[in-house]
């Protein structure tokens, strides 16, 4: 029994809205019906079959094969099942997803996991800006679930994040966890300028100091934090994040951003 497979036939001249392809939305449909689902390509509507070779059976799994970075909104609002992307994804991957799993083998565009409320988003490549951020104009970003990024993140990862976990294996751009309301983010690589800008609460765990922090962060000294043992234990199936356990639970703690209440923390593990 093979999962439903959508293979992009040719490169795209415009951006394509993929939000209709969620397991819940396709459930109970025949392959023929899926072929005629209208999709917005730029400002035109085209049938799915014009763009994709569609194969396999409708299950709660969808496989998307694409080397284009223009497939936007894959898994947006998804509530169940699994989407596997063999190749790249565009902007707004898993935007507002509530449950289920998305796995991507390549790079993804901006605002991946934005406004995510639950579920599991795994990216093997790099991500664009605003990973786990907010929909433009909204006041809250990611509100639940977990994002696991093996590669590098762009600027402003975790912007306006409210709850949930983001694990970043590579480096992170500037303004990491800017305006964070709450939640947890781990970066194993190097963080850019002004990490924690306008952070209200929440935790950013790093393995080395960021390039810079706002002047409104205060040095809180070195601490042994036992909760780290528990937190890192919860990553035990997630190498390389599970390796953090080797560093023990001693951290250098910085508190900020004092311009916004100052209850956030940046923990640097040594």
């Amino acid at each position: 029994m093979s999962a439903l497979t959508l293979k992009l036939k040719h490169s795209l001249s415009q951006r394509l809205d993929m939000s209709p392809f969620t397991p819940a939305h396709l459930a109970g449909k025949k392959v023929g019906e899926i072929a005629s689902i209208p999709l917005w390509l730029g400002n035109r509507r085209v049938d799915a079959a014009e763009l994709f070779a569609i194969d396999g059976k409708v299950t709660d799994q969808i496989v998307i094969q694409s080397e284009s970075d223009r497939l936007d909104g894959i898994g947006a609002g998804m509530t169940s099942g699994k989407i596997m992307i063999e190749g790249k994804a565009g902007a707004y991957l898993g935007c507002g997803m509530r449950d289920g799993t998305i796995q991507v083998s390549g790079n993804v565009g901006v605002a991946a996991g934005c406004a995510m409320q639950g579920g599991h988003l795994e990216i093997a490549g790099n991500a664009g800006d605003f990973l786990g951020g907010a929909i433009t104009g909204e006041r809250q970003g990611m509100r639940g679930g977990i994002i696991i990024l093996k590669g590098d993140a762009g600027d402003r990862a975790g912007d306006l994040m409210r709850r949930g976990t983001i694990l970043i294996g590579g480096n992170c751009g500037d303004y990491c966890v800017s305006r964070m309301v709450a939640g947890t983010m781990v970066v194993l690589g190097q963080c850019g300028e002004q990490a924690g800008m306008a952070m209200r609460r929440g935790t950013l765990i790093l393995t080395r100091p960021p390039v810079s922090m706002p002047a409104t962060f205060n040095d809180n000294g070195r601490h042994h934090l036992n909760f780290l043992t528990l937190l890192i234990q919860s990553f035990k199936d997630q190498p390389p994040f599970s390796n953090l356990a080797e560093r023990g639970n001693q951290v250098h703690r910085w508190l900020g951003d004092l311009s916004c209440g100052g209850q956030g923390e940046i923990l640097i593990c040594y």
Binding site: G137, E138, R139
Partner: protein
């Protein structure tokens, strides 16, 4: 080309036609006399007993200007939540409480509306307001310029300037801002807010200029009357939303000293402070005052339950209400030191005592004011509810059983506190046609619309007869805009552009020297960049100007 609408039942109160079956002939966008028998009729619409009315006119709806755009950007979820996809004919839009320009124009036309008026055009923001209205398809538009909180007017009044000088300034403002009327919002109160005053009743003195709202209302209503501007002063009275404010409203009526004034969204100004909750209905007192004073007209600003957003120039009232913001985000700001602006999203709940009573007070006013020529059907879109709720509101007015059923669902203490259940009045189609067509055209001085006599623009709405008025009014069978069919069965069939309606009272040009000096000293732009010319309207902004006549003095 000559078209004929035959067999329709006409409701044309301006010409005293009440449900008679008559034919209408249209040529070159206008209604014409029946032609000679020899003439060929190119197109005949056989209407066979359908209801025919002039295109509806909304005389108070916030569809353009700075604060509307602030509300749109503040509520992206409102745009996302009700998207309107593009079709072959229409462009995409969105929004429920605060629709985009395109969505607003299309939806108005789909309900049979052909002209809409933005009541709060700040002269400093008039360019933006006209641009947004020009971008609103399907309907003719116009605006009321806001005065009464600008420092020049307040200073002139406080210095005891002659009425003639003030008249010239008012007339100049109408020209410069390309408007059809003048509105005053919380007279003097927005300005007093900037001097840290948090309330200003009708006879309270302004902390700096030492004049009262009463002085401002009297001066402006007199100015418009003497200039012959058809639309009386459009007044958003003092103390909006404050329990016990009906006294301020009655005092504002008195302040006009017999000059015509229009009190807008009066539902928000008809509150008493009786009862356990210190909030009660004074609709009866207000209705009695309106019934007894023929110089007064009102529109209701009916509240409907559900999510909306309140947008107002009344910084003082909006600042006082910001704790009720739902969702919890709001803004109040000053605009070019000329007036203010407050945007507070709000959800009216039927199980909330105050909201439920607000709903009942609006309906009480509709049913207790006798003369439908002086009361207009509005929700103060979007402050009381989005304009899309008009068909529902019409049903509430026309169907007592429906009204009483809904009364059973609201907060029980509110339904006990209102006389609504005992009011037996049901509006007729004729009265609805007065409130939504004939009367707004008359009070705005639009002789070319709101009626179906030869000479009028062929802006016509044709409705299916239906026992449920909500079904009837939400989906017209046909809508004509200047003789062209633009809507069929509630769907746009031909997108068109509207024009801007203005008045141009005469004034003494010497006033411009005084205004120019003030601009040079205090303003951020020069006078010549401030004034909007006809050329700019036509080319830059993209809306032709229709000039309506002013009357001789109406003393």
């Amino acid at each position: 080309m000559l078209s004929k609408l035959t067999g329709g039942k006409l409701y044309d109160p301006a010409n005293g036609i009440n449900g008679d079956t008559r034919d209408i002939y249209i040529r070159d966008g206008k209604i014409v006399d029946p032609p000679a028998d020899s003439e060929i009729v190119h197109r005949t619409y056989s209407l066979d007993g359908k209801i025919v009315m002039a295109g509806a006119i909304d005389m108070h709806t916030h569809i353009g200007g700075g604060k509307v755009n602030i509300a749109r950007t503040m509520l992206p979820e409102d745009q996302r939540g009700s998207a309107r996809p593009k079709t072959d004919l229409t462009r995409s839009g969105g929004g429920h409480a605060i629709p985009s320009t395109l969505a607003a124009g299309y939806r108005y036309a789909e309900m049979g509306y052909t002209s809409c008026f933005e009541p709060a055009v700040l002269p400093a923001n008039a360019r933006q307001a006209h641009m947004e209205m020009a971008d609103t398809p399907m309907i003719d538009t116009g605006g009321y310029a806001m005065l009464g909180n600008d420092d020049l007017l307040l200073q002139l009044i406080s210095e005891g300037a002659e009425q003639q000088t003030l008249n010239d300034y008012v007339a100049w403002t109408l020209h410069a801002a390309q408007c059809i009327g003048i509105k005053v919002v919380n007279p003097g109160g927005i300005n007093a807010f900037k001097f840290n005053q948090r309330a200003l009743d009708v006879d309270d003195s302004h902390p700096h200029y030492r004049i009262t709202p009463r002085d401002i209302v009297r001066t402006l209503s007199r100015a418009l009357s003497e200039l012959g501007v058809p639309h009386p002063l459009h007044v958003h009275a003092s103390n909006l939303g404050v329990p016990g404010n009906y006294l301020s409203t009655l005092a504002t009526m008195e302040a006009a000293e017999g000059f015509p004034i229009h009190l807008t969204h009066i539902q928000f100004h008809s509150y008493g402070a009786e009862g356990d909750q210190k909030f009660s209905s004074c609709a009866a007192e207000i209705a009695e005052a309106v019934n007894n004073q023929s110089n007064i007209s009102i529109d209701v600003g009916q509240v409907m339950f559900g999510q909306t957003v309140t947008i107002s120039g009344d910084t003082m009232a909006q600042h006082a209400n910001h704790n009720h913001a739902h969702p919890n985000k709001w803004t109040c700001m000053d605009i070019e030191c000329d007036a203010g602006c407050g945007v507070v999203p709000f959800r009216y709940r039927d199980k909330n005592f105050v909201n439920a009573l607000q709903w009942a007070i609006g309906l009480e006013l509709f049913l207790m004011v006798d003369d439908p020529w002086r009361i207009f059907l509005t929700t103060d879109h979007p402050n009381g509810a989005p304009f899309t709720s008009y068909p529902h509101l019409i049903r509430l007015l026309m169907d007592r059983g429906f009204r009483n059923d809904l009364m059973g669902q609201i907060h029980p203490e509110a339904s006990a506190a209102t006389h609504l259940g005992s009011l037996e009045r049901e509006y007729s189609l004729y009265e609805i046609a007065i409130m939504t067509r004939a009367a707004p055209a008359r009070i705005l001085g639009l002789s070319d619309r709101g009626h179906l006599a030869p000479g009028a623009l062929a802006d016509i709405a044709v409705y299916h007869q239906h026992e449920n008025p909500e079904r009837m009014f939400e989906r017209p069978m046909l809508v004509f805009k200047q003789g062209e069919v633009v809507v069929e069965e509630g769907r746009i069939t031909q997108p068109v552009k509207g024009a801007t309606q203005v008045v141009r009272p005469e004034y003494d040009k010497r006033i411009e020297k005084l205004i120019e000096r003030r601009f040079e000293r205090y303003h951020s732009i020069g006078l010549h960049n401030f004034v909007i010319s006809d050329d700019e309207m036509a080319e830059g902004i993209g809306s032709q100007v229709n000039i309506h006549a002013c009357k001789g003095s109406r003393t």
